[in-house]
Assembly symmetry: C3
Homo-oligomer: 212 residues x 3
């Protein structure tokens, strides 16, 4: 459909898909690194800087997509959906970076079983999100995209329950207020990552429905 007699009518559509996959895979990379840090309790200045590098890579890919969007006449999906998809995928990475950065600021190096749970959910959700994104390029795979989106929604619901249990335990812990203030923020940021993955899934669902 894209090529006719050597003439490319929509020469840049492939670029969009490639950039989206790059961005989604960068989110998986951030989630993977976060899971390692949460497993080992290895939050420090060095690992925060490494996460920041991943975040910066996400910014660059997002900027590239926006630039392409503003200079491309024919796009594979609605312009607004492309903008939202890039923006929300980038926010997933930003939010994972915000957690490790805030832990650096608060000089929190220890981990917790609850943070490991969140890191596991975030990793699963980023992975399902990236698989949903990868399914968008091929019209025949679009049904698969919806399956991955359902999984992202399920993980967000699971995250809500983990957050509620975690905060209940934290506020019952009798720990000092500063300790509670810090961890409350880290756990809420963690749950927000899952919310933003759900935002991505909503954009993808919207794209798929329009293509049907």
């Amino acid at each position: 459909m894209e090529h006719f007699m050597g003439f490319s009518l929509l020469p840049k559509q492939g670029d969009f898909f490639e950039s989206f996959n790059n961005l989604a895979n960068t989110a998986v990379l951030a989630a993977d690194y976060f899971k390692t840090l949460a497993s080992n309790g290895s939050f420090n200045v060095t690992t925060a800087a490494a996460m920041h590098d991943i975040e910066h890579k996400g910014d660059e890919i997002t900027h590239l997509i926006f630039k392409k969007l503003n200079t491309t006449f024919i796009t594979p999906f609605d312009r607004e959906d492309i903008h939202n998809l890039a923006n929300k995928l980038d926010s997933v990475i930003d939010m994972i970076n915000a957690i490790t950065n805030r832990m650096k600021v608060y000089k929190m190096s220890e981990t917790s079983s609850e943070l490991k749970q969140f890191a596991e959910l975030i990793h699963k959700s980023a992975t399902a999100t990236a698989l949903a994104v990868a399914s968008l390029e091929n019209t025949k795979k679009m049904h698969a995209a919806l399956e991955y989106c359902i999984e992202v929604n399920r993980l967000e619901n699971e995250g809500d329950i983990v957050r509620d249990t975690t905060l209940s335990t934290l506020f019952d812990s009798g720990k000092d207020p500063i300790y509670i203030l810090k961890w409350k923020e880290i756990y809420e940021l963690s749950e927000t990552v899952l919310d933003i993955c759900e935002d991505v899934a909503n954009v993808i669902e919207s794209i798929v429905v329009k293509q049907a």
Copy 2:
């Protein structure tokens, strides 16, 4: 206008209005229930679950509107306005649910005169919002819609003043930091409900101006 010789050119417009009224009325239901809980100080696991059911109903109606939007060619308003209207109405319900859920998590069962004030404002604002939404279907009633929007704006301003007074009193109370942290969050979430009702009113104003 919609029917000509038995042929329906815009057969699905009525559905949009019905769904919007359903969603706005679900927000009123949530506000009504919240007012009862705040009056009686009956926040607990059971009432939080009942509020969650209302929130789930809101999600279903919103999802239905989005699906309809993505598969309908001709819509009664700008597509973006429809999307924003559904999204913001749903957020009103989400935010009321977030308050009762957070009170459950923090094991807060008591009420306060300030929470009763907020519950009263939220109930008034959700009601005015639903009346504004109901006015959208009939072009002749659109002036009434704007009157309800002005009321929603007024209630938001009133909420800002209540929040400021409430937080001043709370921080002057000499209560322990954890107590202050919990109630600060509940009061701020309460005020946010009024902000989101104002967001709904802004979308409605935008729709009315374009139809004029």
Copy 3:
């Protein structure tokens, strides 16, 4: 271009630019006043009311732009960009007002070297933002707009570093939890002003790229 033989094809475009400059200059006014208050430590009920007046002026200009947008057929930029530009400029003013209002609520009158740093960054960023906005009217000046946007981005990065250092110091201070809770909020709101200036810059970049 706009006038041909005395006939104005696009008679209202000039109005948009005038309103945008008014709004951006109101943001500079708010930033300027905030810098004075932070320098002198003169936060009180009277100065909070004066800032609120500035915020109200911003609301009026924004409302005017939205009304114009909804009733004008031909606009100088994409409708969505106009909406976002007005909305985000207004949010800059709202957020500066939120800081002084919250300090009034918390009865904080003192200043700090960190707050002075933020006030300086906010003033620089609002000024660069206003210069970027002013560059939009003249196609030949659009390159200058991008330079100002780069400066706004740079100031946002600087603000992130100031916020991290400031919060680290605050949490290490050994001050009581309520003191930390209050100042954490003030510093985070301050950094958010810089984030929103960056949002404005992103909208401006998007406008410039499309005009190229």
